[in-house]
Amino acid sequence: MNATPSSKDFILQVEHLSMKFGGLVAIGDLSFQARRGEITALIGPNGAGKTTVFNCITGFYKPSEGMITLNRNDGSTYLLERLPNHEIPARAKVARTFQNIRLFSGMTLLENLLVAQHNKLMKASGYTVLGLFGVPSYRKASAESIELAKYWLEKADLVERADDPAGDLPYGAQRRLEIARAMCTGPELLCLDEPAAGLNPKESAALNDLLMGIKATGTSILLIEHDMSVVMQISDHVVVLEYGRKISDGNPQSVRTDPRVIAAYLGVDDEEVETVLTEVGDEDVIEQLDIGPDAAHGPGNSASMMAGPVSDTVEHGDEGERVTVSKGASKAAQVDARAASIASKPVAPPPATKSAPAAKPAAKTGTAKADTKKPATKAPTKAKGISNRLDAPRGGKADSLIRIKGIGPVNERKLNEHGIFHFDQIAAWKKADIEAAEAYLAFDGRIAREDWIGQAKTLAKEVAAKPATGGGRK
């Protein structure tokens, strides 16, 4: 472990964490850090993958990729993804609670807290052998463990009910007991999965006090929470997830005002959604728009960077293997797109307005993916090295590049961004052009292997033979 000095400030470092369930990507390339002695909140809408992150950290899942490093206060470092499940609390000192409370309901409160001190007591009882004969050292350890349990029961305001079964407690008290039980393992990092879920405001305030008290003892806290009052009040650092990716990271104030976070939670206006979905090429939306033609909302009056966030999960990796959420589902990505569109609008009005009418017939024939409205403004900054790029498709209409085997809608969009719209452009590529294209598409030798040039040549001839039928998809 090449721990740099600065890494010691962080109790937990999550790097490039990915978790896939079959084809479903629950977490995609997530990186964040939790500072020692602070409360780090992990927030996000339902299904964003927060609990999956927890399960990876606490060893209930083995992550598909990535590294989770825990730096203990004594300087030792553990790679949590390599530790067996039960050793993470025992050795790395990470404790957790559960979203649906998991208490030992048939055992008393005190017993619950004594079970949490299992490893310490096992050693003291000489792995049962000495304890069976009741040696004094075990008696002492046993008394100490009861004292510790009592301390945490008092902290959680439950000492009155110490001898009642845990299942008999009201909901809020069960939440506090679960936290107290986790604290009895002596953790350095406490992971709380929605501790305030289902609590009334009074109980929620009591929970805040308890958590601040825990923080004061020097235990770092990682917190999943939906209740913004809890998050904003007590957390020092907030990480926002949406669809398994991090969309924001910072102190509560900055996260609170981040438009992407607001969009992820509140959504964006319907008009904006439509605009963005059209940009993304959502066929349903475009069809709907076509039914009632509406000049104001016609597609193509803005640029799109949509290829970025939404398609990321589709893109890298083997084609078709990954499943991701439907296009346009990510609200944060829509905001990105919106921002981009606003930024680019004044720069490139002529091609945008020009391409708008052309987009409609294309959409009607069901070729919405043929991204005709690609702005020329973006291309020059990114496309370097491809010699024969165009500022706009000839005749305002691009060939359907996806007809070339190996080019999917995403690559088509990327090529369009580079100013590649027609088969004959690809057919004319030289070696240097191929290298440049491969660099941008992050393909190694695929263009040559799949003979894009050859395919493009035949297709270019076809197009030349019967022009303007529209690049229908196979």
Partner: protein, 463 residues
Amino acid sequence: MAATVSSERDTVATPVQRAFREALYAGVISFGLFVLFIGLRTDQNISNELILVQRWGLLAIVVGAVAVGRFLYVAYAIPAMERSKAEKAAAPAVVAEPGFIKQNFNKIGATVLILYPIAMVLLFGFQGSLKWVDNFGIQILIYVMLAWGLNIVVGLAGLLDLGYVAFYAVGAYAYALLGTHFGLSFWILLPAAGAMAAFWGVMLGFPVLRLRGDYLAIVTLAFGEIIRLVLINWREVTNGSAGISGIPKVSFFGLMSFNVSDPNYIAKVLHIAQSGAYYKIFLYYLALGLCFLTAFVTIRLRRLPVGRAWEALREDEIACRSLGINTTTTKLTAFATGAMFGGFAGSFFAARQGFVSPESFVFLESAIILAIVVLGGMGSLGGIAVAALVMIGGTEILRELDFLKAVFGPDFTPELYRMLLFGMAMVIVMLWKPRGFVGSREPTAFLKERRAVSSSFTKEGHG
């Protein structure tokens, strides 16, 4: 059936009137039902022809019984039940102070068990007491020991084990083989048999660690059968179905022997009359001692971290792992400890019988032991001891009920009905007390006062 009268008439009619009417309906319905079942019977006469035997008298008795029963039930039983219910509701809720017997149940039980053989000898004499000490006392104690051993696996750790008899068999054969071939003493073989059974407990535990619930039950069931089939088929070692006989008797710590031919035979040493009862009484106290050992260890273990981990495992395995408990070793120790007590019981069984064969270790034994644990209340030692007394003692006592022959005729053999009665008793007990005789759980630690945890909170475990 007959209670389909409308509610308006209910309010008008007095209970007796209504009862009369319902009795009439019940009589009519039972007549309709039974006229062909009971009133007529097909039979064969001497010339092998099918004839119809008419039994109108019997039919009249049955129909009359139904009608009278319904009348009594509606007219007197229902109002009486409602009255008592109303009284109970009206009476102020008094917290019933547990009686003297309930408070000191364990001490009284232990005293009774210690004095039992003495009482039997005083009542029936040495020869007469044999049956009561052996068939009842020792037999029940063996099952108590087995059930307490299984209680660790099923009751505490919540792992459903249907093959527990396998460990009983391992213990018995370990004792029988080592005893007959090497002539080792009981006091060496007892721990050896326990260790052997514990070893096989771990062997079973490893492959089934990942299984839970029904799946675990099936695999343990199969394990029990495998052990029995190995015992039957490995003739060179186990002598197959013929079993192993001539297993040495237990000696009184090597000081006195119970073999009449030995020079240090107990009657010769102590200069008392020769009797087979000495050995049985000695075995009784030996079994009792082993039971006390089992109980002591179980109670101690429950208060140790490992015992708490077992119970926590039963309550919630995932929470256990989140607290750093190694569930693998915890499950294995539960299997091993339970199996060890099974092994002790097995070696004692072999010593007592002087003969073992695979016939003694069939699945029915596993089922009976499990039934005792469930009937007694999982996790409770006292309840399980009572359940063993009821189930094993109950079946034994049926052999003694000769007076039933006077009632049901000389062909009646009560032993044949014992399994039927046994099953009925179990159904009734489980309806009446679904979590067994003692459903509540004693906490292992307390701050202020020890209060039993109600059975509604404890879980049975998922396997």
